[in-house]
């Protein structure tokens, strides 16, 4: 039972962290360097990636749903919910699938997740606009996702190294109970 409470608390902290990160992102407008709609660092994906490995798919999904719902609520923007949900869910599903491919490192999984996030967001843009026009941006967004995905992969790798001594650092190896 103790572990369960601990996991629940960790989920709550991670959801809060993801919310804070997506807010913080607006202070680093990547769109100033790469002028494309929807370009961002995707820092909240670090939380999804970490949760996926350290806590498993159900917890990662719960954190993602809380982040998207509260994020849209705080921003007071209902259409933002569709964007973050479609982007976040595509990223999570792709990363969860690729996590099973043991040959891939956290970098490969992260890059694939970032690319999937962009594909999901372009789909959301096509749905809201009712036009295929956003598809034109996808190749550029995919190129950018190689860098943002590698960056969040690097940060998550550092996070796992730093947390290696805790039960949530390397759960697979340090599972002492």
């Amino acid at each position: 039972m103790k572990i369960k409470t601990r996991e629940l608390t960790l989920c709550a902290v991670l959801a809060a962290l993801a919310l804070a990160l997506s807010y913080m992102e607006s202070f680093f407008p990547l769109a100033l360097i790469v002028p494309l709609p929807g370009v961002k660092l995707g820092l909240a994906n670090i939380v999804t990636l970490y949760a996926l490995y350290a806590l498993g798919f159900p917890s990662a999904l719960a954190i993602l749903l809380v982040r998207c719902t509260l994020g849209a609520l705080f921003a007071g923007n209902a259409s933002a919910l569709l964007f973050s949900l479609l982007g976040g869910l595509s990223a999570l599903l792709v990363m969860a699938l690729l996590r099973g491919a043991k040959k891939l490192s956290i970098f490969g999984v992260s890059i694939a997740g970032a690319a999937a996030h962009n594909i999901g967001q372009v789909c959301a843009a096509m749905l809201t606009l009712g036009s295929g026009a956003p598809l034109y941006y996808l190749p550029f967004l995919l190129l950018v996702s190689l860098f943002t995905g590698a960056l969040s992969g690097l940060i998550t790798a550092c996070l796992f190294r730093a947390m290696a001594h805790t039960p949530y650092g390397m759960k697979g190896e340090n599972h002492h109970g």
Partner: protein, 129 residues
């Protein structure tokens, strides 16, 4: 259920990078295939999913579009179309610059406006010269 991740990049990660690059390349090449009909481009402006203006690029004189409380001014110079000004919060549409080739678009998400350049529609192109 949980597994520890590999923290150092492996050769297999390059496969992911290549896949993403290939996907980007394919998508980028898409307008090239569509634009084989050498002819006049068509400007298509859609607001909230509905096409409000659609005409040949040469006869397009720009326009002002209002949607969702935002106003976009679209202009045309030397065969290129661009959003000259907009009062949307993120200004992505203004920053995306001018478009001049078939398949290119400018999108303003807050205003739900999309400006697209299409290859010459085949019905205009049937005159054999």
């Amino acid at each position: 259920m949980n597994c520890s991740p590999k923290l150092k990049p492996t050769l297999w990660d390059a496969l992911v990078v290549l896949t993403v690059l290939a996907l980007a390349g394919l998508l980028a090449a898409r307008p090239l295939f569509a634009a084989k009909t050498a002819g006049e481009l068509t400007v298509s402006v859609s607001v909230d999913g509905e096409t409000v203006e659609r005409c040949a690029l040469s006869s397009y004189e720009g326009g002002v579009y209002e949607s969702r409380g935002y106003t976009l001014t679209v202009k045309e110079t030397d065969g290129a179309v661009y959003v000259a000004s907009s009062d949307c919060p993120n200004q992505d549409c203004v920053h995306s610059g001018a478009i001049s080739r078939a398949g290119q678009s400018i999108v303003c998400l807050p205003a739900r406006v999309a400006v697209t350049l299409e290859g010459a529609a085949s019905d205009y192109d049937l005159i054999a010269g």
